[in-house]
Every structure is written in C-alpha cells, then in structure tokens.
C-alpha cells in the first residue's frame, strides 16, 4: 500500500492557480523527487502536505488515513517531517536545542511536571538528548553542538535542518531543495546522507530539487511539474528525456 497519496489536489491563491489537479502515490521506502521550473508549485505541494495550506480541492492520505484537514501541529506526530527551501531554523538557539525541538512531538510530560522538573521529566529529557546525540553523530556536527544557529555557516545550517527533521523519527521526510546554496562537495555529501537515511533508517523521502545530478543519483521516481500540473512521471532518465519536460525547461510554460 502506498504510504502517501495525493488525490487531485489543487491550490488557488486568489486568482493564481499554483497547483491544479495533481495526483501521485509514493511507495514505502522510495525516494520520490519533484522537479520543475521556478513557480511550478513544488513548495506549495509541500505546504499542503505539512498542512500550512489547506488544499482548495482534493484529498491527501498518509498511511491510509485522510490528512486533508488535520491541524498542522499534528503532522509531526503522525510521522511526517520536513525541511524548508530557505532554512527555517530557530536562529537564536543552539544546534542541540534545535534538534531537541525536533523531539517535541515525542514528549508527553504534563505542564505541572515540567514546572517542577520532576524526575520523570528529567528522564524523558535524557532520552531525548540521547536521540539528539545519535543524530549529531550521524551527521558529524559534534563540534557545532553548542553554537548558536545564527553563527553557523549556511552549509552547516542545511545539515542541521535535516538533523532536526530526523529527530522527529519520521516515516515520511519532505526535503525542499536540500542542495540549494551548497557547493559541489556539500551537495554530494547531502546525496550520500539522503541515501543513508533511506537505506539505514528506512524513511520514505519526497524531495524537491533543481540539481538534476542529485535527482538522478538518489531518486527512484521523478515527477515533473510545470505551472501547477504534472508533465511527466517515471524514472529519472525517462522524465529527463520527456519532450514536454524539455520544452517546459527551455521554452518557459508548456504548450
């Protein structure tokens, strides 16, 4: 059974039709990439899945349950994590704190217990810390552990955002342009991590990406989008050679 299904979803902003009748299904364990020119509606699809926007039409299913109308803060505990195109970290907190905020959906201690910082809260905190340290080790960012995000270089922030998403222990991970702003080596490293996350952690990934080399390296299937509509869906080479896709990239809007 597919882990995520979008069924004819659409999004209008006033007069702008950012996404129109898009349907796709993502299988467990695969890396599913979305490509398309600027303004194609890729980020909008992510924003619908993470429930920042409510689709104007259509339905979304995650793990067999309808998530079209669930409140946005419940998405993380359902097992969907995401990163943002322009990095939305908590800039005035340390790297470690950022990762611990990623653990928020797993914390179940009550308000009064927190006010008194009871033993139960302390033990839960230690468990979260252990999980966060695992992620720190996985990504090799130990030396930045206690640094403010605002003081970290862009490339490291990109990695931290990935780490924060991993702290959610998601089953579905949405990566919005993981390579944007990274140099060639950093992009390659990002590609390896994506591979590791899928292989070692068994996480399903939907990735929006412009770098075709990275897309080719990690994706099982690719969906090409232009002006809010699907142009092609298939393996990365199939999509890259699709005449419609080529035309969309070269000639702007599709015919």
């Amino acid at each position: 059974m597919s882990i995520f299904v979008a069924d004819e979803i659409a999004m209008n902003f006033g007069g702008i039709r950012a996404v129109e009748g898009v349907s796709f299904a993502v299988e467990p364990g695969e890396v599913f990439s979305i490509i398309g020119p600027n303004g194609a509606g890729k980020t909008t699809i992510f924003n619908m899945i993470s429930r920042i926007y409510t689709p104007s039409a259509g339905r979304m299913m995650f793990d067999g349950a309808d998530i079209t109308n669930v409140p946005p803060h419940t998405i993380a505990s359902l097992g969907i994590a995401r990163t943002f195109q322009n990095i939305e970290l908590f800039a005035n907190a340390s790297l470690l704190q950022n990762l611990l905020i990623g653990r928020h959906c797993h914390s179940k201690v009550g308000l009064l217990a927190q006010l008194g910082f009871t033993a139960a809260v302390r033990d839960a905190e230690i468990a979260h810390r252990e999980k966060a340290e695992e992620v720190i080790e996985f990504l090799g960012v130990q030396r930045y552990r206690d640094q403010m995000i605002a003081n970290l270089p862009y490339g490291v922030r990109k990695v931290v955002e990935l780490g924060r998403a991993l702290c959610i222990e998601p089953r579905l991970l949405l990566l919005d342009e993981p390579s944007s702003g990274l140099n060639v080596e950093e992009t390659e490293e990002m590609g390896h991590w994506i591979g590791d996350i899928r292989r070692d952690l068994g996480v399903t990934i939907i990735m929006v990406e412009h770098d075709m080399k990275l897309v080719h390296m990690v994706s099982d299937r690719v969906m090409a989008l232009a002006s809010g509509r699907i142009l092609a869906l298939g393996t990365s080479s199939e999509v890259q050679n699709d005449p419609e896709v080529i035309r969309a990239y070269i000639g702007g809007a599709p015919a």
Binding site: A76, F90, H104, V109, A150
Partner: protein
C-alpha cells in the same frame, strides 16, 4: 580557560553546572540573607522593591524574551495581582493561600488576554496589550467600590505561621523567597519541552508548527505563566507600598517593566535581574548626584524619566544585547584575554528585514 569536561547528559540538566557556579550562587544567597542584619531600613526596603521588580521582570522575560510576544500592558497584571491579594487578605484569607491564589487569578486573566491575541502579529500584539493595560488601569482608577477611590486601599499586614510580615524586613525576606522560587520555576520551564517550544515560536512560527508545537496552546500557557508570575509580584508590591493608590498601575509602569527586560537583555533570566537592578538603582544614583548638578538640572522633575529614556535609546543603538549581552562579551573577553579578536563579538548587520511576515 577550558570548559570542564561534561560528565553526563544528566549533568547538563542541572541548574548550576559546575561546582564553581554552585559555590557562587550559594555565596550570593547567604549574602542576601544577612543583608537586613547589617544594612539600614531604607536600603532593605529598596532592595525588597528590587526583588519585586525582578520577579515581574522574570515573568515578562518568559513572554517577551523567550516566546517573542511583546506586552506593553504588564502593569495590568501587577495591578490585578496586587488588588486580588489585598482584597483576599482583607477578607481574612491567610497569606500563604492568598498570594498563590492571586498568582492563579492573574494567570487566568493572562490566558483570557492571550487567547484573543493569538492570531495577532508583533505590532498589533504590542498595541492591543497597550490598550488592554490602559483599560485595566482605568478600571482600577474608576471602580471606587473595589479600590477605595482616591483614598486608596490599605493593605493588611499578614502573618505567616505566627510571624508578622512587617515593614521593610518582612517584605524583603518574602520577596527574596518568592524571587528564588520564581527563578527556579522559570529555569525549569526553560530546560523542559515547554521552554523550547516557546523559543521555537519566537524564532519561527511556521517551523515550530511543523515540529509539532501547538501555537495556540503554547502561547496561551506562556501568557498565563507570565501573567501569573507578574501577579505574584503584584501581591508583594501591595505590601511594599502598603497603600494601593488607584493610579499606580498605568502605562508608565508597563513601560518600565518592558524596559527591565529590554535593558537587561532579551532572552536571558540573568538579563531580567540585571534590568531590575538597573531600573531600581537609577533613581538612587540620581538622588545622590542631584544636588551637585549644574544649571539647577537637579531640581527638574523630568530628570529621572529623561535619563531613563536616554539610556534606553543608547542601549538600543549601541548594545542591543542589553546589560546581559555586555556581560557575556566581557566574560568572553576575559577568558580569551590575550587572543581576543574584535570581530568575534561584533554584531552582524541586517538590512531591511521585513517583520510584516512572520
């Protein structure tokens, strides 16, 4: 100096992480405990007032410095706490019940104010808390039946377990104890998921939401906790002034409270304390030099507020990190003494960052 090696994650969760820190806090506490035995009544009274403003400062710091929600109406919570406590005392409730209850009542008001403002962004939140504060201030001024009109409301001297909390010394010790408790509470919040959720909301609402943080609930709790702590300060303030005057909880007081957190340094409990110290010491310092000032400046009533404004302006222009920011830089400078580089502590400039969108 190299930071001592951390032994365990458990140690990271302690409030005082090194033996040195533990020792210095213990010394500070002991010193504060013996001050009334060696200092004059006047100074003890002023220090009691300082503790009360520090409590309110910690309350507001949680909301403004950590959750990023600006309140320009916190004097209202101080007033609600003060009147609730004084009225309950007058009804014969014991102090140990009345003061916490005043805190709880004020917290309820805080939530009631927090909920309608949940969807407001920075600027509108500031303006509407200002409006709320001035409404409550006016109500306290005009509601004679409650507040005793122009004559004010005499505050009853309470007893705790047979010990009369009287005069400056009584207020000093009760305020000190409440301050320590409140700081402990604030630090607990900050090392628990709630505190991190607050920080997350401050820095990015959208991504906080995607991390599973319920914005409405967290903001309401932040408002409630902040108001509740400020209400406790209000209850103590009633004892400090002994006679509640109907016009004492106005916009000016609200502005003083935000100034405490701002000058102290946003996002730091130390900052709230530093800010309160500054705020309460400034008038004393002015009083000391008043007679020596040229041109009769010392006699103008505007001297204190204008210096207050001037310092606020200078801090924002030249040290946006507040006193705490300066303190951290100083510590950093001492630690890395011969190797200090200016660039390390230079603030990054950002241009025209829009806050219309958050």
């Amino acid at each position: 100096m190299i930071a001592p090696f951390k032994v365990s994650y458990r140690q990271d969760l302690l409030l005082a992480k090194t033996p040195a820190a533990k020792a210095s806090y213990a010394v500070l506490l002991v010193a504060l405990a013996v001050i009334p035995l060696v200092m004059g009544e006047f100074y003890v009274g002023e220090l009691g007032g300082l503790f009360i403003f520090a409590i309110a400062g910690v309350g507001l710091m949680l909301l403004t410095g950590y959750t990023g929600l600006v309140s320009l109406g916190h004097a209202a919570f101080l007033g609600i706490g003060a009147y609730a406590h004084a009225i309950m005392l007058a009804q014969g409730l014991p102090f140990l019940i009345s003061l916490p209850l005043a805190g709880v009542i004020t917290a309820a008001f805080g939530v009631a104010i927090g909920v309608p403002t949940l969807r407001m962004s920075g600027l509108y939140l500031a303006i509407s808390t200002l409006a709320f504060g001035s409404i409550i201030g006016t109500v306290l001024q005009k509601w004679d039946a409650l507040t005793g009109g122009f004559d004010g409301f005499p505050v009853r001297t309470p007893t705790i377990l047979g010990w009369k909390i009287q005069g400056a010394i009584g207020t000093y010790y009760t305020s000190l104890i409440v301050l320590v408790l409140v700081i402990w509470l604030a630090l607990n919040i900050l090392r628990a998921p709630l505190g991190r959720a607050m920080v997350a909301i401050r820095d990015s609402e959208i991504s906080a939401q995607s991390m599973g943080i319920n914005l409405a609930v967290t903001k309401s709790i932040a408002f409630g906790v902040s108001a509740g702590i400020t209400g406790l300060a209000g209850g103590l303030y009633a004892h400090y002034v002994r006679h509640l005057a109907p016009d004492s909880f106005d916009i000016l007081l609200s502005i003083q409270l935000v100034t405490i957190v701002f000058i102290g340094g946003l996002g730091s409990i130390h900052g709230a304390i530093f800010g309160a110290v500054f705020m309460r010491l400034l008038p004393q310092a002015i009083a000391m030099v008043r007679d020596d000032l040229p041109f009769g400046l010392g006699r103008t009533p505007g001297l204190e507020p204008s210096l207050f404004g001037l310092i606020l302006v200078l801090v924002i222009m030249f040290e946006p990190g507040g006193i705490n920011g300066r303190w951290m830089k100083l510590k950093h400078w001492c630690k890395s003494f011969p190797l200090h580089r200016r660039a390390a502590s230079r603030r990054q400039k950002s241009y025209a960052k829009s806050e219309r969108l958050r």
